[in-house]
């Protein structure tokens, strides 16, 4: 490992200190009673268009994204660019479905997807399934944010053994835990503004300066091996790489806003209009993500993998070290400090929102539903604050003691699991036609089949579905949510006919879904 880069480290620590102060000060921003769960966990639903843009942007485009997408381009090439169509096709869903969900959630005081499903379909076991899926899918996601911090801390030259090696991560974790506990969602919302300014400055500077240093885009792309530059053209009788590229983009888009942290970001907006405006404004981040994906190619062209000073980093972090190495190679230390701070803080924002979202789910749909049915407002928000700590602690332990590869694989499975809540949540916003137990069985079928398919291909996202002599490699989440939906549609009339009980009461009325 290279020596400690003191200038970069000083700037990194300075910016981190600023963020810490901001996180605690945020408790008094747009002041509300933090003993109410919707104040602590949703910022009082008061964030306008611009704050929502920063918050949801910080939520979707995380530190891990900024490390992992270029790393994929660096290692595998063109396929990494699926992140671009993915972040294009999410916004029609955001525009059409989620303002409706926002309206009904505000009207009834729902703060989680489980709350909505409980009210809509009147089945607490279905709501429990939503909550557990959300929490389990979120945990490895938080762990991967901590990996983002680990990589930049390593790149700053801080190394050691035993506790000393993990100390920076533990400090970052303590800071994160403390300000989330005290300020709730207001903390990541305020920090997201600073973080995004840092990220945009870094990305746009790098996209201009590095190609000039490397002699232009023509030279950069000429350095990329031909088989990495484009998707492999499919052979006969298969949709090949085209099928997996498109389904990966579509499935990831369908799954995204079902994640608890994304829903929390959306529900904290002040109106459905703010959400619709954001569907047009958030592509700003997609564009930046596309540019960042190109950093993987910059790293290939700069040849950082063969430079002796970065050998240790690549050995420890694999391709995830490509972006930090590129930044170290291309920029003076003070700028590296800013860029690394952007990535490090970029990890804190989503990690805070994720832990808040998981805490909301546990508090509302598990604890309140099954353990303490009539908590006071204060008890409820206190419970959520504690759970947010436990969730983060779990993620920290995971990262310290379990190989990173497991967190990546669990996060992959998490995407396949979370999409199984689509019929209940996204379609539930439009129709009450589904039978509640049919939804639960469809969910179970999707979870089971998705896990089995992922295991069958050694925990890769794409499964080669064989039908009538043709092979369709595609994202498992897409295949299994179709299975889920078929089960729900087939079983709904069957279970309705078999059951003597009247359908559970729908708490929501058609007018609740409109402004």
């Amino acid at each position: 490992m290279q020596d400690v880069n003191w200038i970069a480290l000083s700037i990194f620590v300075l910016l981190f200190g600023l963020i810490t102060w901001l996180g605690f000060a945020a408790a008094n921003w747009r002041k509300g009673d933090l003993d109410l769960l919707h104040e602590w966990g949703l910022g009082g639903r008061r964030f306008g268009t611009l704050i929502t843009w920063f918050l949801v942007g910080g939520d979707i485009y995380t530190a891990y994204t900024f490390i992992a997408v270029p790393a994929l381009a660096f290692g595998a090439g063109a396929v990494a660019f699926f992140a671009v169509p993915y972040t294009i096709v999410i916004y029609p869903f955001l525009y059409l479905v989620f303002p409706r969900l926002w309206n009904v959630c505000r009207k009834h005081g729902y703060i989680t997807s489980g709350d909505f499903v409980r009210g809509r379909f009147g089945n607490r076991w279905l709501a429990l399934a939503m909550a557990i899926t959300g929490i389990v899918a979120t945990m490895p996601y938080i762990a991967l944010q901590l990996v983002g911090i680990q990589v930049v801390v390593g790149a700053l030259g801080i190394s050691g053994s035993g506790l000393a090696a993990d100390l920076p991560l533990i400090i970052a974790f303590l800071v994160l835990a403390a300000f989330t506990y005290s300020s709730g969602l207001r903390a990541p919302a305020s920090i997201a503004i600073v973080k995004d300014i840092l990220i945009y400055v870094t990305a746009f500077t790098a996209i201009i300066v590095i190609p000039i240093e490397l002699g232009g885009f023509g030279k950069i792309f000429a350095a990329v091996p031909a088989q990495k530059l484009l998707l492999a053209v499919p052979g006969t009788k298969t949709t090949g790489a085209y099928g997996s590229y498109a389904t990966l983009a579509l499935g990831s888009a369908l799954a995204l806003f079902l994640y608890p942290h994304c829903l929390t970001g959306i529900l904290s907006a002040s109106s459905g209009h703010a959400i619709r405006r954001n569907a047009a404004m958030l592509p700003g981040y997609s564009f930046m993500l596309g540019l960042l994906a190109l950093f993987g190619f910059f790293a290939i062209a700069a040849g950082v993998a063969n430079l002796p000073e970065y050998a240790g980093g690549f050995k420890q972090f694999g391709n995830n070290f490509a972006v930090p190495a590129l930044l170290l190679h291309s920029f003076p230390s003070w700028f590296v400090g800013i860029a690394f701070a952007a990535i490090g803080v970029g990890a804190l924002v989503p990690a805070a929102i994720m832990s808040i979202a998981a805490a909301n789910l546990y508090t509302r749909n598990i604890h309140r539903e099954f353990l303490n049915k009539n908590p006071s407002d204060r008890q409820e928000s206190q419970m959520a604050k504690w759970v947010s700590l436990i969730v983060k602690l779990g993620a920290l332990v995971f990262i310290l003691f379990v190989p990173t590869q497991y967190a990546i694989q669990l996060q992959l499975l998490g995407g396949i699991w979370i999409i199984q809540t689509l019929p209940s949540v996204m379609l539930g916003v439009y129709t009450r036609w589904f039978n509640d137990w049919a939804l639960l069985l469809g969910w179970a079928a999707g979870i089971f089949a998705g896990t089995a398919m992922a295991v069958a291909v050694n925990l890769k996202p794409a499964y080669p579905l064989a039908l009538g002599g043709y092979t369709f490699p595609g994202y498992i989440a897409v295949y299994t949510v179709i299975l889920n939906l078929v089960v729900v549609i087939v079983l709904t009339p069957v279970l309705n006919a078999l059951s003597a009980r009247p359908a559970p009461v729908d708490q929501t009325a058609a007018a609740d879904y409109y402004a």
Binding site: T87, V89, F217, L230, A246, L250, R277, Y513, A515
Partner: protein, 73 residues
């Protein structure tokens, strides 16, 4: 604003609008890789595959903005 005008604004906000069909355009444009899986034509040295998809980020944002302006009062 009269009662009638408010009612029509409500239906427009809650219900279906033909403008939403514009969203289909971006799905087709980016989810069909044969359209763009080629290196030529280059732009500023960037292969088509990459600049085409980046261009669609901008176009999709414009489409969404148009739909917003057309369907929100």
């Amino acid at each position: 604003m009269g009662v009638l005008a408010m009612n029509s604004a409500q239906t427009r906000r809650g219900g279906w609008s033909w403008w939403y069909l514009l969203f289909v355009v971006q799905f087709v444009a980016v989810l069909w890789p044969p359209f763009y899986n080629s290196a030529a034509p280059h732009w500023m040295g960037i292969p088509f595959f990459y600049w085409y998809q980046l261009l669609w980020v901008v176009i999709s944002a414009v489409i969404t903005a148009v739909i917003y302006l057309a369907t929100n009062d």
